[in-house]
Symmetry: C2
Subunit: 365 residues, 2 copies
């Protein structure tokens, strides 16, 4: 990536033409010269973009990007630091809004490092012409969600792009929080025998968005599970700081989260398909839409790899918390098939749960 | 802002219709029901958006947004925390790119709190169809700028929006850094008698962008002054930690920066117009374009309010630094006309330098 870029503006008002003839993208992106929706999908294409484009460009420990948040040292403190941009459509949906997502998504990324979010930054990219009243409603939802999560919006920025060059409202939030002493949540700490716990039912957020966006009705309104998980994680860490890894299965769903952990830890993961809680309304909607709930995004759930000796106590503590009332064991880490996730089906068979390539549901968060 | 929002999706694929009939925007935004470019311009409209929409929604100390960065306490450390989104067009311009801006802009916001940037987060919003090679070149520029500024990209995120709903590449960066003990940079610390120092020539970045975007030629190519100011600020603080306020005059230019300081400090500011360094090429371009250099964005300059007893030593230290070689005194804080900035013109007259309303040069950063 050390070629020369010559920027010349041939046409007034046009962006300069880039001479990139000498540039070749490292495989496997080479076959794909342009960005596709899947590059934002949280699956294999997203991971390739980080591994082949961003990580080499940034150097250092930038591969930390592959985790939900980075843990850094500053002024003697261990901080979790994370960012997400939010481009969900529509802006308001059953159970939440882009403002709720912008808080809870980033708060949850910090929680997955064991940190209680302390401060958020908040950058709006507005499209010229969007109603100020809509901006205000989104800001209101964001502020309310922040107060509920106990995090302060400390700094912000607003940019406006010309009509037709944005899409109403995009939001970026970044967050910082303290990682408690003794807490070290990383997929590399997973060992065979670890118990895999889900904090509740999966697939709800993605289906809620799709139903409103596509005007579908499934008899029951499905509300997003969007919620801030900092309190639940505190409850779990109070049982033992020795949890191995936490992940909130957002884009790419439970399947992507488990695959990332399996690959990074070098262990296998076995899921009991019948144990994975999928609400009937979500199962029905997925059947109609041709989706697999394992790949649908969640915004208020987490999956935990817990040492076997602590599993029962952690599960009990989770169930005593409103956001973990339906927590359940869904599988375990195993020595067999390292780096791979398999599901034991209800009929006794076994199937591989692959990392999704791209985007099953675009612009879900 | 406590009205009810009812979201209903009448048309498949359309965003839900918001019932906002009961919502009224507090004056003075009331006259303007939709977002205009000026709301992102760093002038009066931007300030109103923060004061009337964001600050009431977020509560707490969110008015810290009006500063370049917030100073927060975490784990016993004083941290500067800041965010900016970057939507500049074109992506590459003489002297820099959106990748350089995304690093230097946020690093500089932290530097204005006296902090050396330690870690950045980096969120890309990509438009479907943008060339991966362009993404890679931007990431490369961003990584190079980060290494030059001595800051680590610690965490990131990538979202993709459908073609026609974005504009190639938008970037958000947030940054954190330590504020050294004894440093307390706030406009409220400005007192009459403070000396106003500019670190160099103004108006360069904005004119560089405009010239390439509009295909204008002014005889000499004008290169953006985009640079990271952390080192220069360290040099200044080594003379005395008792600087009163620093500001990098980006959107809205020197005029906006001085007005914000005058209003927040309740002092008057007098500028000697002939002392404000404007390169001839910038002056010529501004004459042709009908722009006032005082309102044109800079990306590698700062303005400092320094106690009179330290001014000479600080100026000397600045001039010994490559990014402050042309540092010069441009005015002073005064008791007269509190909250107002006036310029003594070359002919001996006086003019008021107002806060700009909106956007003189859209999408400049």
């Amino acid at each position: 990536m050390n070629t020369t870029v010559t920027a010349t503006a041939d046409v007034p008002g046009e962006a300069p033409v880039l001479d990139l003839t000498a540039w070749t993208c490292p495989a496997p992106l080479r076959d794909q010269p342009r960005v596709v929706m899947g590059h934002g999908g949280g699956g294999a294409l997203s991971a390739e973009l980080v591994q082949h484009v961003f990580a080499p460009a940034y150097g250092g420990d930038a591969l930390a990007q592959l985790a939900d948040s980075a843990v850094v040292s500053l002024g003697g403190a261990r901080l979790a630091f994370s960012t997400d941009s939010y481009v969900v459509r529509p802006l308001f949906f059953p159970g939440g809004s882009i403002g709720d997502l912008a808080v809870n998504g980033t708060v949850n990324d910090l929680a997955m490092s064991g940190a209680r979010a302390a401060y958020l930054s908040c950058g709006f990219i507005l499209e010229e012409g969007v109603e100020l009243s809509v901006v205000a409603r989104v800001a209101d939802a964001l502020g309310t969600a922040a107060r509920r999560a106990g995090v302060e919006v400390a700094t912000g920025d607003t940019k406006v792009v010309d009509a037709g060059h944005g899409d109403g409202i995009f939001i970026n939030t970044a967050g910082i929080g303290l990682v408690p002493a003794g807490v070290d949540l990383r997929p590399q700490r997973v060992v065979p025998g670890d118990v895999v716990i889900s904090s509740g039912a999966i697939g709800v957020h993605g289906v809620a968005i799709m139903s409103v966006r596509e005007g579908l009705e499934f008899g029951v309104e499905i509300e997003s599970d969007c919620a801030a998980l900092g309190g639940l994680v505190e409850t779990m860490l109070a049982v033992t700081p020795d949890l191995h890894v936490l992940r909130d299965p957002t884009r790419g769903g439970l399947a992507a989260a488990l695959n990332e952990i399996a690959v990074a830890s070098g262990t296998g993961v076995v899921i009991q398909e019948r144990s994975v809680p999928v609400p009937p309304a979500v199962a029905n909607a997925c059947a109609v839409l041709g989706l697999d709930p394992m790949y649908v995004a969640n915004e208020g759930k987490l999956v935990a790899f817990v040492p076997r000796e602590h599993a029962e106590a952690v599960l009990e503590a989770m169930r005593a918390h409103p956001l973990g009332a339906e927590a359940t064991v869904i599988g375990e880490a195993v020595e067999a098939h390292p780096g791979m996730v398999v599901a034991r089906t209800g009929l006794g068979g076994t199937r591989v749960v692959d990392l999704p390539i791209g985007e099953q549901l675009p612009r879900i968060c």
